[in-house]
């Protein structure tokens, strides 16, 4: 049989407590790892294009400084055994590529920035 837990009152630690703000007031408590390491919200910027899947950049179809139209093919991308094409989300000029051909990228990686 499992050894019974000793009868000891679990204490409140003196270190690591934060003041957690809620809609109902603020409370002294320990944060979870998940809460401490959460990423703050940043509003999306339509001048940035991110990868929607992990995969490999196969070809860059336009050049830095080039003017592109909304819907124009920007680059091709092989992900999950499928070939994909990224289209420009806007009319504008390509400010810079943050990736090169044959580069392996994670989901959510910044691929292209527009001016």
């Amino acid at each position: 049989m499992m050894k019974k837990a000793e009868h000891i009152l679990a204490p409140v630690p003196e270190q690591g407590l934060i003041l957690l703000e809620t809609a109902h007031g603020s409370f002294r408590t320990l944060p979870t790892k998940k809460y401490s390491s959460r990423t703050p919200w940043v509003a999306p910027d339509s001048r940035q294009l991110f990868s929607f899947l992990p995969g490999t950049i196969t070809r860059l179809l336009v050049q830095q400084g080039q003017d592109v139209k909304k819907g124009q093919a920007i680059l091709t991308f092989n992900a999950m055994k499928m070939d994909n094409t990224y289209l420009s989300p806007r009319d504008g000029r390509v400010a810079r590529f943050l990736v090169a051909e044959q580069e392996v990228v994670a989901k959510g990686a910044l691929l292209v920035e527009f001016e």
Binding site: M1, H7, L17, T22, A23, G25, S26, F27, T29
Partner: protein, 515 residues
């Protein structure tokens, strides 16, 4: 003498199969710090109680050189035995035999013992230690997994199903444990993932170890896929035995009763555990241990979403499931993970007729873009659904804070709690006094020459008028306001009163739980 020779022959055959993959493979298994399949079964079950079946089962694969391969028991040990005197069915994959890989015969041994367990209405324990599908058997291996998943689902809520991960459990294989009730893992031994480090490296270029990707700590702390964390296989087996001593054998028989033993009120002095100031933390497990028999509490999912505590204790000798907000961690708020954790536990208790005691002290839901976007509405709804659907006796004790949506969610009278009791310091209100004063008295506060002082005065005014148990008690939402020291007595009495509880719900095939 012919008979003796037959017996000798049988003994030799059994002895050979008992050696699994042979001495070299066993040595490798030991070098990884792991026990063999048969040692595990012996360590887990009551001594000498194991009876093995299907030892002589062989695979019938013929491709890729398989026709000449003889695999002892096809890489899995199955049988029945006892835990604390109660019968159980068990299978243990044998990594020393062809990496414990799952072929059709291996899977059929498992599904056969699963059918036994379900038909006999006894708990099923599965020990997973396998490299995955036996590639040489192709789609037959996949068929084997599918047959197991189907049976896991059919047995769900009828018999307790326990998965023990004692080695790799990768790819499709993970879905059998995921469909069972309790997953046990051992630090540095257990690994669970859909796609392993190799695939991730190839596809993404990300390098991660098996332990970091899907080790015991990851699944117990981060993903919530596992329920119990142990440092050794022996500790893990002790946890399993403790769990099985607390839960019923099936959904029609009650859990075994133990003699009622009074809690240790010297150490767990219930009047002094909860600080008067609602913004100060304490460990709610002290309150649980202040009311349970012999101050014993067996916590489930201790490391995941620690802002809510779930687990088993006995009250008056009977097993009870506890759900308690934990003010020590994240002030006990409800969030996606906490709601999910508690909801599943409630459904387990309900399926196996274990009464539910809810200890409430929370300031509502966790605010934040991450929570909203992670679907706190959908996850939070699981908790409301599980509490509302449960027909077992439901007893709620409001210890301190019960604000807003949190008050409703934590098994309020409105979700059909059978008994709701509140301690005298309970603050049951639509909002916490701080938040409420800021909204209701905004004009007075901003117009004041001393806004801070006015704010404090208004908070106090609100607390006096609304943030107490008597407003809810006046409406009958709280059955009784009780002294903390009376809590155990009230819970045990409620359990006695509710022992014959019968509820008629509308006829339906099943509800649409917000999964």
């Amino acid at each position: 003498m012919a008979v003796d020779q037959k017996i000798l022959d049988l003994q030799q055959r059994k002895e050979l199969i008992s050696q699994g993959g042979g001495p070299v493979a066993i040595e490798k298994q030991k070098a990884m710090g792991k026990l063999t399949a048969r040692e595990r079964i012996d360590a887990l079950l009551d001594e000498g109680s194991f009876h093995e079946y299907d030892m002589f089962v062989q695979h019938s694969a013929t491709e890729f050189g398989m026709q000449s391969k003889v695999l002892a028991g096809d890489g899995v040990v199955v049988g029945t035995g006892k835990v604390c005197g109660n019968p159980v069915a068990i299978f243990a994959q044998d990594f020393t035999v062809f990496g414990g890989s799952l072929g059709l015969s291996h899977a059929r041994k498992i599904t056969k013992i699963m059918d036994y367990a379900l038909n006999m209405r006894i708990p099923l324990i599965g020990i997973n230690d396998s490299g995955g599908a036996r590639i040489q058997e192709g789609v037959s291996a996949l068929a084997g997994y599918g047959e197991i998943f189907f049976r896991n689902t059919m047995a769900s809520g009828v018999i307790p199903q326990i998965s023990v991960i004692l080695g790799p459990c990768a790819g499709g294989a993970v879905y059998s444990p995921a469909l069972t009730d309790y997953v046990f893992m051992v630090d540095k031994t257990s690994k669970m993932f859909i796609t392993g480090p190799e695939v991730i490296k190839t596809v993404l270029g990300e390098e991660i170890s098996m332990e970091e990707l899907g080790g015991a700590r990851v699944h117990c702390e981060k993903t919530g896929n596992a329920h119990f964390f142990a440092h050794s296989e022996q500790e893990c087996f002790t946890q399993i035995r403790r769990l099985l001593s607390l839960v019923p054998q099936n959904n029609t028989t009650p859990a075994s009763r133990e003699p009622s033993v009074e809690p240790d009120s010297k150490v767990f002095a219930i009047d002094n555990i909860v600080p008067e100031d609602p913004s100060q933390p304490y460990d709610v497990r002290n309150v649980i241990r202040a009311v349970t028999d012999d101050s014993e509490f067996f916590e489930v999912m201790e490391l995941f979403a620690a802002n809510i505590v779930i687990g088993y204790g006995r009250m008056g000798g009977q097993t009870v499931g506890f759900i308690a907000n934990q003010p020590l961690v994240m002030a006990g708020v409800l969030d996606c993970d906490a709601s999910d954790k508690a909801a599943r536990f409630i459904r387990y208790c309900d399926a196996f007729n274990i009464p539910i005691v809810t200890l409430e002290d929370l300031p509502g839901y966790l605010p934040g873009v991450d929570q909203e976007h992670a679907g706190v509405i959908r996850h939070g709804a699981k908790l409301l659904y599980a509490y509302s659907e449960a027909t077992v006796p439901k007893i709620t004790i409001i210890l301190r804070k019960a604000y807003g949506g949190g008050y409703i969610a934590m098994c309020s009278r409105h979700l059909q709690a059978d008994f709701v009791f509140a301690w005298p310091r309970a603050e049951i209100a639509v909002m916490g006094p701080e938040g409420a004063a800021n909204i209701i008295f905004r004009k007075e506060i901003t117009a004041s020459s001393e806004p801070a002082a006015t704010r404090e005065a208004k908070i106090d005014e609100y607390r006096q008028k609304f943030a107490n148990p008597y407003v809810a008690a006046a409406k009958g939402y709280v059955d009784s306001v009780i002294e903390p020291s009376q809590t155990r007595k009230f819970i045990i009495h409620s359990l006695e009163i509710a022992s014959g509880k019968t509820v008629c719900q509308p006829t339906k095939k099943h509800g649409i739980a917000p999964f």
